[in-house]
Amino acid sequence: MKYLWCYYRNLWLLLFQIILVLATCASSLSIFQVDGLRSSELVINSDKNSLDVKRINAIAEQITVRVLSTNTLGSGTIIKRSGNIYTIITSAHVINGINSPYTIQTPDGKIYLAEKVSKDNSVKQKKDIVLLQFFSSQANYSIANIGDIGKMSIGEDVYAVGFPLRVHDRLGANSSFQLNKSLAFREGKFVILLNKPLMNGYRLAYTSSVDVGMSGGSVLNSKGEVIGINGLRDDPIWDIPMQYQDGTEPSLSIQKLISNSSLAIPIEDIAYVFK
């Protein structure tokens, strides 16, 4: 009886192993500190126009492109079509300092030569946005629908879309181009729409995780409509406080809110691109 537990040592070993594995799993689970905005406000999208998430994902895949040069630069969103000329919107910083030629990879995997739109007011408006155009007579690409942020409530579902870069994502002359199987579709919550824009026009904050490469991709609402263009990640390298475009600094509480959020340029602020 004294040595009973020795006799069952195989069972004990197994039990210890199970406990160890469970303990390891539990400790490696990152339990996010749930702030008020992520946990509270079970906002039920009672809007009967809300789409199924799969449908929104499908829309995202149809309207999102890759923007390329010698390397993969970032993402873009198809916003306009005039005859056979398609207009793409992307972040200005995606092509900043990179000389053309730029190319676009569309959802069907095709590559098109693209050019910057010359009559673009974004620099004047101080928005981190640029327009590119490509020509296609063969295919029929979907155009993004535009949503209205005005009707959104804090905590409402949003989806950030784009093509995250892999490390050392370089396309050489001999590389084969990949289809967009790797489109990121990131669920998140609407955090805030600031009253005035930060530097370069950023105003829309949301919790979706945005990675390098997703700049120029869109933020979609629950109807699959574009409400913003991704540009800033939710994980800054250093803690430089953001500034408003007018040079002032947001309050500490706003700073805290936006330093942990991804930031986009609201589509309503760049209505001029649709003219």
Binding site: F16, S28, L73, D211, G213
Partner: protein, 184 residues
């Protein structure tokens, strides 16, 4: 000791060994204390591999901050490799102390510098210098470029600390014709 107790002790020992081995293997990932700065390598636009100061955020995003190409400071021991290591360490120290909040630019000993400032309005102190820039680098552009890298969701362009027109390859100084032509 009888045979049974020897068996018991040996079983216990096996458990103990097993435990310690497993625990040492299953180290939980080190709790990331924010951004980590380090000196690694990156490739310039000309395809040359140079030392680079890299920032890795808690989320795992890696960004090249500075590419060390200039040999201007070599005579005083400031090879690109040495400066890379030096500044990467400095950045880490400033970050860990919570000082990487306000970046400024100033001129010290006729050379442009980028430094941390304690507040938006205070001046740079010598002790707060992050990096001394080679003579040809415009300090305002350099600062601007550093700030831009903070959270853009695109690969961005690191700060190239070069010597104007001159690139070094295998110890030989070559004229960077492309740069020369671009600036004509």
């Amino acid at each position: 000791m009888n045979q049974k107790s020897i068996n018991c002790v040996s079983t216990l020992t096996k458990f103990a060994v097993f435990f310690s081995v497993i625990f040492s293997l299953y180290q939980p990932a080190a709790v990331a204390g924010g951004t980590q700065f380090s000196c690694k390598t990156d490739t310039t636009e000309d395809g040359i591999i140079v030392p680079a100061t890299i920032a890795k955020t808690e989320k795992g995003t890696e960004t090249s901050i500075i590419l060390w190409i200039s040999r201007y400071f070599t005579a005083s021991g400031g090879t690109p490799e040495a400066r890379c290591a030096n500044v990467s360490n400095r950045l880490q120290r400033y970050y860990d102390n919570g000082w990487l909040t306000y970046f400024k630019t100033d001129v010290v000993n006729n050379l442009g510098v980028i430094c941390v400032a304690r507040s938006a309005s205070s001046k740079c102190l010598n002790s707060d210098v992050i990096v001394t820039l080679p003579p040809n680098v415009n300090r305002f552009q350099a600062l601007d470029q550093l700030l831009k890298l903070q959270r853009i969701a695109s690969s961005g362009k690191p700060l190239y600390l070069t010597d104007e027109f001159i690139i070094y390859r295998d110890g030989e100084a070559l004229i960077n014709v492309k740069v020369m032509i671009d600036r004509l």
